[in-house]
């Protein structure tokens, strides 16, 4: 699915990623844990092609495609989805129009026929229920006036609409109360197909209890310094990152 080799990346000239190697196979969920500023969000931004970041070395191959030669929307339409840590508000653009444009673009890339307005609204209704997103919210402008938890649910709702092959959940658990966390995580589990892969970025074990990662990585100072099974998440939850940051 996704293969990252010796990835170095900078923002505003400052090197954040200092040689990442990561292989994610079909159907695997990888957790990336680490301290603030370790480069977790940079990693997700670089994978999806945020133009604010520069890749200085290395490569990313996604299902045989060289991602670094593709622009942001091409990567998205190839099936890569980022659930944003802080989803931005877009005043004046209704969720419906926004999703319509996104779904049209994705369907076009998949060679599927465009949905009629009626079918599209029906799909919106179905997927909304999956993450228990209030119908009032899909009538509003994108993320405008949404609470923190509603924004995160809205991210998972968009994932449901776009049916990506590979998802990055960037601190989806931050700002969520226990119930909201459960709804979001269960929504994600319902959505994923057997071959859907994901990177889950988090500080805490809570989300991982629901998502059950196959592999856990510890990212410190731009490098993956330890990789293990689910037990690694438990260990970090107990002891924190002190053992690693002292290295």
């Amino acid at each position: 699915m996704l293969e990252i080799r010796n990835l170095h990346a900078t923002i505003n000239g400052k090197e954040i990623l200092k040689g990442i190697d990561l292989t994610i196979n079909d159907g695997e969920i990888h957790a990336v844990m680490g301290t603030n500023g370790a480069g977790k969000s940079t990693l997700s931004n670089v994978i999806v092609g945020n133009p604010a970041y520069q890749v200085t070395q290395g490569e990313i191959v996604f299902n045989g495609m060289n991602l670094l030669e593709m622009n942001t929307e091409e990567r998205a339409n190839a099936g890569i989805f980022l659930s944003f840590q802080q989803p931005v508000e877009i005043p004046g653009v209704s969720m419906t129009n926004f999703m319509r444009a996104a779904v049209n673009a994705r369907y076009k890339a998949l060679g599927r026929e465009q949905l009629s307005a009626g079918d599209f609204l029906k799909l919106m209704r179905e997927k909304r229920k999956l993450v228990e997103l209030d119908s009032k919210l899909t009538g509003r402008s994108v993320n405008e006036g949404f609470s923190g938890g509603e924004k995160k649910r809205n991210e998972i709702f968009q994932m449901a609409m776009l049916e990506p092959d590979f998802c990055i959940l960037d601190e989806t658990d931050s700002g969520l109360d226990v119930d909201a966390l459960r709804i979001v995580a269960e929504g994600f589990n319902k959505l994923r197909r057997p071959d859907t892969s994901a990177i889950v970025i988090t500080h805490y074990r809570r989300l991982l209890d629901y998502l059950k990662p196959d592999i856990v990585h510890v990212l410190i100072d731009g490098r993956i310094i330890k990789t293990g099974g689910p037990e690694l998440a438990l260990e970090i939850d107990e002891k924190g990152f002190a053992d690693y940051t002292a290295l």
């Binding site: 092609g49 929307e73 998205a76 944003f84 877009i90 653009v93 444009a101 890339a109």
Partner: protein, 480 residues
């Protein structure tokens, strides 16, 4: 790289072609003889020639205005031809009317304005004006069944001289301003509309203005009279070929609204804006004004301004009738080197009059976009109300947005509110859209249309769709 960029910018303006049609153009230059010649060509009565000459003599004493926030090129009025007739190549037909050159019909087809009635947009009657002459007005017969007059102003002068004489210059006198005086002296064609008492016009009326000939100016003159209890919705569209020189379009639109009558006037202005370096483009210097004479009369101006190198335009309302209500909805887009100084004047004279101003400016590239508005409440205008909201949206950091609201209030009971905001399309917003698979161009179009939807929604539906597309196209290449 430069060439690719230029091609891209030019490609955006898809109406930039020229029609090769025999056109009679009078020699360049402006003096009394030219004014007389135009009047003679149109076979006008003496009183109209006198009107033109008075205007011309007044114009000669005036200086062009300099108060707008515009960097206006100097216009050499002697280097312009004031009359171009693209219908001159054809002999008069049997019934006295000129046959229409098929090339002209094709041109309007290409612009999406078919002049064959059977091909036309359902429910829209069109007056098609190219350069100085109205080529054809559709559905005239059908409208006449309701007593509605819809024709070119030249035809109205011939067939309805009393109405024209009564109202021409009654809303915008030639002394109003420099360009109004010029227009009054040399105006060529435009539309005339009369809706009789109690008639609700069953179709949208529309005029399509096209500049074609080179080195000419277009001096549109439109007069709309909506009698007691009548209603009409009117739409104006405009395009021009791409040329390296500036072209002058100096228009006057006058609207008279009687008791309980209602007029909706919509403009989708897409004159050639010049290339990305600011070469060429139409100078759009326009005086539009409505006089709400009647009690409870209503007038709304809706404009979507995407074209022109320079726009100088303030569609205004004089609210004389008690209970009159006026609205101004505007979206003005400027990109590259375009400049717009546009807004409205709301003059409250009658009691309990109400006006609403919603202005949305969108600036990109190295353009300058200004809102300029006046709200005036006269001493006797008890209970006058105005609400103004002026928003600016910036794309990038090299453009400018400016707001110049003026208020002149002489009555203590008036309630006048003004709100203004400035916002920017952020990199984060674009990135978010692109991560969802939406291209930058589509994302800008989505955001801009969302921002402008309060105004776009006021347009008749067929044109709202066109306007939405136009907003996206006008801003292509402005981000990224």
């Amino acid at each position: 790289m430069e060439d690719v960029a230029r091609e891209f910018v030019n490609k955006d303006y898809e109406y930039g072609f020229h029609t090769d049609v025999h056109t009679e153009i009078i020699a360049k230059g402006l003096d009394e003889n030219v004014v007389r010649l135009i009047s003679e060509k149109k076979g006008e009565p003496e009183w109209l020639l006198e009107f033109r000459l008075d205007a011309f003599r007044y114009w000669q004493t005036q200086e062009p205005p300099s108060w707008a926030h515009l960097d206006m090129p100097e216009i050499d009025y002697q280097d312009i031809s004031y009359y171009a007739d693209p219908t001159s190549g054809k002999k008069d037909g049997k019934d006295g009317a000129k046959e229409i050159d098929p090339e002209l019909m094709k041109t309007f087809d290409k612009l999406g304005i078919p002049l064959e009635e059977r091909m036309a947009l359902a429910g829209v009657a069109v007056d098609a004006v190219m350069d100085s002459v109205s080529v054809k007005t559709t559905f005239q017969e059908k409208l006449r069944e309701n007593g509605i007059i819809f024709c070119s102003i030249s035809e109205a002068v011939r067939n309805h001289p009393d109405l024209v004489r009564k109202y021409l210059g009654s809303v915008v006198p030639y002394r109003d301003n420099y360009f109004a005086a010029l227009n009054s002296a040399v105006f060529s064609d435009g539309s005339f509309v009369y809706i009789p008492k109690g008639v609700r016009c069953p179709m949208e009326l529309s005029t399509y203005f096209r500049i074609n000939a080179m080195g000419t100016g277009q001096f549109e003159r439109t007069l709309i009279i909506c009698d007691d209890d009548a209603y009409v919705s009117y739409l104006e569209g405009c395009t021009a070929p791409m040329r390296d020189e500036n072209q002058l379009h100096a228009a006057i639109v006058e609207i008279v609204v009687m008791d309980r009558a209602e007029v909706k006037y919509s403009t989708v202005q897409n004159w050639y804006p010049g290339d990305k370096d600011g070469k060429g483009g139409v100078l759009n210097l326009v005086t539009k004004r409505g006089h709400l004479r009647g009690v409870d009369s209503r007038l709304s101006w809706t404009q979507v301004e995407t074209g022109s190198a320079i726009t100088w335009k303030y569609p205004s309302c004089i609210l004389s009738g008690d209970g009159a209500q006026a609205e101004f909805y505007s979206v003005a887009v400027t990109n590259n080197r375009q400049q717009a100084d546009t807004g409205t004047k709301m003059i409250h004279i009658g009691k309990n009059t109400k006006s609403t101003i919603i202005s949305k400016g969108i600036s990109a590239g190295k353009s300058q976009n200004s809102y300029r508005g006046l709200v005036k409440v006269a001493a006797d205008a008890d209970g006058a109300r105005n609400y103004s909201s002026c928003d600016s949206l910036l794309l990038g950091s090299t453009c400018g947005a400016h707001t110049f609201p003026y208020m002149d209030i002489h009555n203590d009971t008036a309630i006048v509110e003004h709100e203004a905001t400035t916002s920017k399309i952020s990199e984060e917003q674009l990135f978010y859209c692109r991560q969802r698979g939406i291209s930058t161009e589509d994302a800008v179009s989505l955001i801009v249309n969302g921002y402008a939807k309060d105004v776009i929604n006021k347009l008749p539906m067929e044109f709202a769709v066109e306007a939405q597309k136009l907003l996206g196209v006008s801003l292509e290449g402005s981000v990224g």
